[in-house]
């Protein structure tokens, strides 16, 4: 795959190779972009242009009224707020608590550590669907149905095993000397964790944060099961309700969809650099 310029005779071959490469990558990129482009285009079209045959690639002017309609028809701001509350709470809890637990597994020895860690790993392979109904019944008994609690509280107890595993890998790769030096200076373990290890773990924490946010922002099943009151709906659930209508108004629906995607996209692009780093050391690569 690496093409190195060795002699002039090779440069012609290189040119052909690169051209083919560009063509393939461009085609693949078009395939990736096209549906998203169509989404944005539809969201800006007036009602009759949407159903025009052959399809109009570009909207007939900018019909931002679709966006206005989306904001009104589904109480978009309310759902947006609900989604944000749930996702941000989960993000903060999952990032902090899983780092906390991962630190324990990475930097300390305590009785039963290996067994606990093995159990942690085994939960990665255990589909949460098996526990779905008993957990639902537990939250029902607690009277937590139709609140955000079933969606947020579990995050405070370690969140997802994968995150703990990923962060443990990261902490393992950091030297113990940092901790020993700080301990000599009289710092306690908790402040060593917060003041030394958390700051140097930024790429790993951001990776976990993106995964966490993507997961909770896009979660449909949780809100579908636990939230009944339409004032408490998340964006995903609100959009899903839209889907049930017999006559779908694609313009406003695509507008609402575009708006729903924006937070994830913004966070991804803002943190892309860390995210890519995060993947490469996480051990996910094998």
């Amino acid at each position: 795959m690496t093409v190195q310029r060795r002699s002039l005779s090779k440069s012609k071959k290189l040119l052909i190779q690169n051209s083919v490469l560009y063509v393939v990558l461009t085609l693949a990129s078009i395939v990736c972009i096209l549906p998203l482009f169509w989404m944005i285009s539809t969201s800006l079209k007036s009602g009759n242009v949407i159903f025009e045959v052959p399809p109009q690639w570009l909207p007939d002017g900018f019909h931002i009224e679709n966006y206005g309609k989306a904001l009104q028809d589904i109480p978009f701001m309310q759902y947006f707020l609900n989604s944000t509350i749930i996702s941000v709470t989960r993000l903060v809890a999952e990032v902090f608590v899983s780092a906390f637990v991962a630190f324990g597994f990475a930097k300390f020895n305590f009785p039963g550590k290996n067994i606990w860690f093995l159990l942690l790993l085994s939960t990665i392979m255990l589909p949460s669907e098996v526990m779905l109904i008993p957990v639902f019944q537990m939250f029902t008994r607690l009277g937590w149905v139709n609140t955000f609690l079933p969606l947020t509280v579990p995050a405070f107890f370690g969140g997802q095993a994968v995150f703990i595993f990923l962060l443990r890998q990261f902490f393992m790769s950091q030297s113990d000397e940092l901790m020993e030096a700080a301990m000599i200076d009289g710092a306690n373990k908790f402040s060593v964790f917060v003041k030394i290890y958390l700051p140097i773990s930024k790429p790993a924490l951001i990776t976990v944060a993106i995964f966490s946010f993507q997961g909770s922002w896009n979660d449909l099943m949780g809100p579908l099961i636990y939230l009944n009151d339409s004032k408490k709906f998340t964006l995903q659930l609100g959009l899903a309700m839209f889907n049930g209508m017999t006559k779908v108004e694609w313009g406003p629906l695509m507008a609402a969809s575009v708006l729903t995607l924006i937070p994830v996209l913004v966070i991804f692009f803002a943190a892309q650099k860390y995210f890519v780093e995060g993947i490469s050391f996480s051990g996910i690569k094998g």
Partner: protein
Amino acid sequence: MKKALSRNAGFFFVAPWVIGFIVFTVIPLFQALYLGFTDSNSITAPNFVGFQNYIDLFHDEDFLSSLSLTVWYAIFAVPLGIAASLSLAALLNCKIRGVYLFRTILYLPAVVSGVSIALLWRWILDKDMGLLNMLLARIGIQGPGWLSNPNWVLPSYILIALWGAGGGILTYLAGLQDVPRSLYEAADLDGAGWFEKFVKITVPMLTPVIFYNLIMGIVGAFRKFSDAYIIGGAGNQGRFYMVYLYQNAFNYFKMGYATAMAWILFLIILVLSLLVFKSSNLWVFYNAEIEKGKKKSKRAPHGKEGGLY
């Protein structure tokens, strides 16, 4: 002294997870085991029915059709997705101008997901007004009812899965960084073409990543819910396993029945994962094996210039 201190400290750090593990995993797991043997419906008191739920499931047409759709989906979507993202990653590993832009674009479908994208696909795959059929009509092909014709539901879902397959790209790119450059240089000297290099160097060196993505892909296929719930397709023909499980539990309130389904799901995932694990020593190749093989020779330098990031 240090050791005694760290004993308690260590447990202090892992305690939140241990509590969560007991409350949200261990206890529910035992309850689920029992629940699967009952006719629990959340209205009347549950009765113990033995293996009746499991027996009923295998006589339930809807269950069998959701299982078969999910299995066929996994059989096609997972390997095709791996092939697509692996090939794209190999192309993106070339040093050409604009590679960062391509990487971002190809990864984009993996970033966006959820109900919005499911709705978008419903719109694109619409029989009469969808973009895909309108494009096909332009080149003279009468497109099928992607989501309304039972025969086209599975291909539709595979298509959607392939579009989102770029998620694997980053993991493969990360893996490609660890492939010693010297291997390609040696292949160049032997006059190997790009295809030969891809099949004989890139793919074998990436098998650990492929292995990871294979397991994750299988698990993901069987747990597919959101877009399957939104898109549906051809009545019950487009009903995935998790959608049927959800309907049993929360629409029909057959909690015992749904729990039995969850256990079958668990067994399927477990058996498939074990098969992949067992087979892995036949095809997964760890870099360390080369290192072991040539203990004395120095490790091939990984030039930073080869890095993508």
